[in-house]
């Protein structure tokens, strides 16, 4: 009775969900591959088709983590080896639980097979020391001492061994028994991945689109269960001949809407080059963000932001988009700066009512006639046309920002109205009366 009363509050604080989470597997499983030209990023990226965790092992081979893969290990090993043969990289492989031990066993010439942890532990003592990843000098010294296999080596006290041969020896012995397993995958594994194999290679655009559609559906289901939305997607398509193609697609706002993602990726299908056909597609959400579900707006309510983000995503595939934000500068070109179209820039503060509506990126050169060197112009010539100035306001002198160097010259800005009524924002670059003073039409008011 007392035990029962003690247990009840525990049940309340610790939710039962915890008990239902999948338990991590007791041992991690690795596939070590040795072969010609395998320890390269190229081969490692290609091997991503078997598992999302692939690393290069000490410049001698590839290490693929196979923990939790759905395929039985007995079938996985021949399939991976056959895949490497077809890709032009014949390899020998061992599937086991300790990378360092697998590498040593491969070096000792063990045939490709699947090793259980017990088998592995049983094989290790008979391993000759020459198969260990140790410098030749150490191995010669070990032979001279009469230590010819791992059993003999492990029988020695560790302290004197480490003092005599340095830390490399201690590290290797620890790695052999799985005490440390240094392993850096070439890419951080994405949490959300959808992959599919195709028996007949995909060549046509409609076929690819349909295949991508099924992948998107799977991916979005996964995103929904964890409450996330994708920001960056990557589609990797593997061809039969061992080559592959990658497409990246960014999203302005996290989304798990299959229709939106499908519309974005469908536009990219034409960039895929199937050649002889794709036999495996992997769609991964490389970057995700938390996305809390929102209720769709009722009619008359504020328009949901997702509509705008989806539109900007679509437009951004074909044209360039940006917004303008104020920048602390009195120099006209620098008073605005471009920011992302997905940002919400602050408003502008009016410095002077006489600012143009359009500021020409390339100001038009003018020729000016003025009564006096420092008087406003009375006649402006733009190209071959002369414009008589009926009204002029100014000058508004803007000095260049001295902290930006001395290349710019002071400008005198005038607002002028031509005889036809047009209002121009013109400036004289340079001091009045200077021989090199130039006139420009900089904007329309």
């Amino acid at each position: 009775m007392t035990a029962r009363t003690l247990c009840l509050p525990l049940f309340k604080t610790a939710p039962r969900v915890m008990a239902e989470l999948p338990q991590p597997q007791a041992t991690r499983r690795f596939l070590m591959l040795h072969g010609e030209g395998l320890a390269t990023p190229r081969a490692a990226v290609w091997a991503l088709r078997f598992s999302p965790l692939v690393g290069i092992w000490r410049e001698e081979g590839l290490l693929i983590e196979t923990t939790g893969l759905p395929e039985p290990e007995g079938a996985l090993l021949p399939r991976v080896l056959a895949g490497f043969v077809r890709a032009g990289h014949p390899a020998r492989g061992l599937l086991g639980s300790t990378p360092a031990a697998l590498a040593a066993l491969l070096r000792a010439g063990l045939e490709p097979q699947v090793l259980t942890p017990d088998q592995e532990a049983a094989t290790l003592p008979r391993l000759p020391v020459s198969a260990l990843a140790l410098p030749d000098a150490i191995i010669t010294a070990l032979h001279r001492l009469g230590l010819r296999d791992v059993a003999a080596l492990e029988a020695q006290p560790r302290g004197p061994l480490a003092r005599r041969f340095g830390p490399a020896m201690a590290l290797e012995l620890a790695a052999l028994r799985g005490a440390i397993a240094p392993f850096t995958p070439i890419r951080p594994p994405p949490v959300h991945v959808a992959a599919r194999d195709f028996l007949s290679p995909l060549v046509t655009a409609p076929g690819l689109e349909r295949a991508i559609g099924t992948l998107i559906a799977t991916l979005c289901e996964g995103l929904l269960t964890t409450g996330e939305g994708a920001r960056v997607l990557s589609l990797t398509a593997f061809r039969g001949d061992g080559s592959w193609q990658e497409l990246g697609q960014g999203l302005g706002q996290a989304s798990r809407e299959p229709a939106h993602i499908h519309r974005l990726l469908a536009r990219r299908v034409e960039e895929l080059r199937p050649e002889l056909g794709f036999e495996r597609l992997i769609l991964a959400a490389e970057v995700t963000e938390t996305l809390t579900p929102r209720q769709a707006g009722l009619p008359g309510e504020e328009v949901p932001r997702e509509e705008l983000a989806a539109l900007l995503d679509r437009l951004g595939q074909r044209v360039t988009l940006w917004r303008l934000a104020p920048h602390a500068s009195h120099w006209p070109e620098r008073a605005v700066q471009r920011v992302s179209a997905f940002a919400t820039p602050p408003g502008f503060i009016l410095l002077s009512p006489w600012r143009p509506l359009r500021l020409l990126r390339h100001p038009l050169a003018l020729e000016a006639v003025a009564l006096l060197p420092d008087a406003p112009p009375s006649l402006l010539r733009l190209g071959r046309q002369s414009h008589r100035i009926t009204r002029a306001m100014g000058p508004e002198r803007l000095e260049p920002e001295w902290w930006r160097g001395h290349s710019a010259r002071p400008r005198d800005y005038y607002v002028v109205q031509t005889q036809s009524g047009a209002r121009w924002w013109v400036c004289r670059s340079g001091m009045p009366g200077a021989v090199d003073a130039r006139w420009y039409l900089h904007g329309f008011i």
Binding site: L308, R314, R318, L321, R358, G443
Partner: protein, 239 residues
Amino acid sequence: MDRLALMAGLRARIARFDPGLAAGSTNGRATLPLSPEIDAHLPWNGLPLAGLHEVLAAEPGAGIGFSALLLARAQTALPGRSVLWIAGEPDAYPPGLAQLGLSAAGLVLVRAPRPADALWAAEEGLRCPAIAAVLVMNATPDLTAARRLQLAAETGGGIGLLLRGDDANPGPTAALTRWRLSARAATDASPHHLGEPAWDISLLRARGGRPGAWAGEWDAMRGELRVLGPAETTRCARA
């Protein structure tokens, strides 16, 4: 009287084919206010939303000023929505546009060097319910493309503005209205003071309405377009 009844009957028949085409559907249509005089002249009692409008600019400054005014009014009428500014090289300058009430926070600039891309972006934008207005500069869509824009605007509910240079013979259009803007001297102007922006606003055509011409001035303090009176109709005759 017969004539009026006949017209009403014809309009009702057209309305059955295409609600957007009918001038008879004026009563239920959401509009943007311009100024009391111009609104009263337009058959919709204001500039209709969910429609395409064309602005011919005799002067670049006058055209952009009037367009910015319409964009700002669309921003106010449809709060929370954004405005797209599509041009080959968009050079909108918010410190100046703020005077006409156009806020930079809801303004997205779109650089589309190819006209086909500009029209595509305009159509996508107009169809989107998160867009209040789309301004396309210097694009001359043919009748089919303009009709597509008009239909897209009816879906999304915003306004589309086609701003282009003045043309003596602008050709047919699928837009609801076509305006020509030229600059004029302000009433309080002196040789050393330009005064408020002042425009000659001519309505060249309005579907189901009559052309008109006004002289207008932008009153920045009150934020309204002040109509000074009917303009001398020399330019209007060209339409």
